[in-house]
Amino acid sequence: MKRETLLLTGNRPLTPTVFELTFSGASAMRAGQFVELEVEGQYLRRPISVCDSADGTLTLLVKRVGVGTDKMSRWQAGREVSALTGLGNGFGSDATKPLLVGGGIGCAPLYRLARDFAEKGVRPTVVLGFQAAAEIYYRDEFARYAEVIVATDDGSDGFKGNAVAALCDKGFAAGKDFDRYYACGPAVMLRALSAWCADGELSLEARMGCGFGACMGCSIKTTDGFRRVCKEGPVFDAAKVIWE
């Protein structure tokens, strides 16, 4: 963990509710790690996962869901933001045939991971699940590094159904189409994935107090014992998460 002052260099809407914020001044981070940003007038910092971290630029995708993210969505370039950076463990990247599965804003942290694989000469398959066509973002960006499959709940673009249904429909099988999957999205999606195949890594979300292991506000049960989403996570072995 480091405490750094970031400079916002850009803020552009990708959909009516998702914003791409780019910053300079952040240390390099791994795929699946996250930052905690100070938001004016809010007591707690906001945990946001790294979408991309390269060449001195940090990219975060923020979905407007509450008062904190609403304020962030209005931030303008030139703003300085206090951040705790380099939080969490991040994804592994040892698959030789990786499958990446994202749901909603959970697609964001898979982007840096897709790049990591591409830079090693491995082209992953990425399944991106959204509620509707209007909420799709980063399809072209992912396509630079990965084979992209889009799914929408209402069928307005791509496969009709959620990301897990798309995988099942296309007959994806462990050992044949992929050797390990990496996922981030709603808990219900991650739970369904872990039931479908144990050979994966899940990036979990939780309401956090601190984000660096002090408060025990985000602890989950795993087969290894209690684990903090912010410190030992947010990425956990799919076979080890005990779902409540």
């Binding site: 707690l44 107090g209 601190c210 660096f212 002090a214 025990m216 506000g217 602890s219």
Partner: protein, 302 residues
């Protein structure tokens, strides 16, 4: 400029002590700064057996603070003594204050005795004020007779200074302080969190999974200050003040209210360097208010 204070005859490097539950078992914070500037460290609340705690969400934001309902997650007293305390003692020479939670008198006694027998532990802080555990915790800290009786029983088995952490969720915190001192407490610490709740407008349900939790942060500072002042006027044992302390000035104010040392809680969760920055800011703040020796201001506003 002297920022050291005395607690139970031991000189503390500074009056600043991270509060239980906001600093884990301490050793992880050694990655961020040298912990030896801290007067003491109050460990995460420890129970006889390992506890997972409450379901998630356990955290809700508030204006100028937060609600927590962790539910005393901890690895159990034996693991704390075998692993956590030695890990902290390896990087920290100051006063280690072991915080004890429980559901029954027997559990409090067993846990407190084991921790007080641990050579690295300087004092035991008995948490009879946790609002987040069912059938225990705060139930012991809201009835003066029950609290006094518990403290009396625990004190007989504890060979280190016994601090009792008081709940603000009572009619008269002074009466509670008198009761635990009558029961044998060597000192008191206050305030634990105030019971509160938030509701998610979308789901129309409480944000906290177990409905309510404890409010802390700058929002509670004036309430805490008043209660520290009340208690310092009521009892003649060391009072450790806490509740929303965020700056060196807050710490000075708490000490003028009657605290001989100050615990810092919520601030650690939004700024991992909070305690360090408060300690480092003390000399300049003292200079501004004409304070040469920080001990001189303890209880100045009694």
């Amino acid at each position: 400029m002297d920022i050291s204070v005395d607690l139970f005859g031991r000189k503390l490097a500074s009056p600043v002590i991270p509060a239980s539950g906001t600093f884990g078992f301490g050793s992880e914070f050694a990655e961020y700064y040298d912990l030896n500037i801290l007067g003491g460290i109050a460990l995460k609340g420890t129970t006889r057996d390992a506890r997972y705690g409450n379901p998630l969400p356990r955290i809700a934001e508030c204006p100028a603070g937060l609600i927590n309902a962790i539910g005393l997650q901890n690895p159990g007293v034996d693991a704390v003594i075998a692993e956590e305390i030695p890990r902290l003692a390896a990087v920290y020479d100051g006063a280690i204050i072991a915080n004890v939670g429980g559901h029954s008198e027997e559990e409090y006694v067993v846990t407190a005795e084991k921790l007080s027998d641990c050579k690295e532990v300087f004092a035991v802080e008995l948490n009879i004020s946790c609002p987040n555990v069912k059938g225990g915790g705060m139930a012991f800290g809201t009835d003066a007779q029950i609290a006094k009786s518990l403290v009396y029983t625990v004190k007989k088995r504890v060979k280190k200074p016994l601090i009792v952490k008081l709940s603000p969720n009572v009619t008269s915190i002074s009466d509670m302080a008198r009761a635990v001192v009558d029961g044998g407490a060597d000192g008191v610490s206050l305030i634990n969190t105030l019971v509160g709740m938030r509701i998610d407008l979308r789901t129309r349900r409480p944000v906290i999974a177990v409905r309510t939790g404890g409010v802390s942060g700058p929002a509670v500072f004036p309430v805490a200050l008043r209660m520290v002042n009340d208690v310092a006027r009521a009892v003649n044992v060391p009072v450790i003040g806490m509740g929303g302390v965020t700056t060196a000035e807050d710490a000075l104010e708490m000490m003028m209210a009657g605290a001989c040392a100050v615990q810092v809680g919520a601030a650690n969760l939004v700024n991992p360097y909070a305690c360090k920055e408060i300690v480092e800011a003390l000399p300049a703040a003292m200079e501004r208010y004409g304070i040469r020796n920080i001990s001189d201001i303890i209880g100045a506003a009694l």
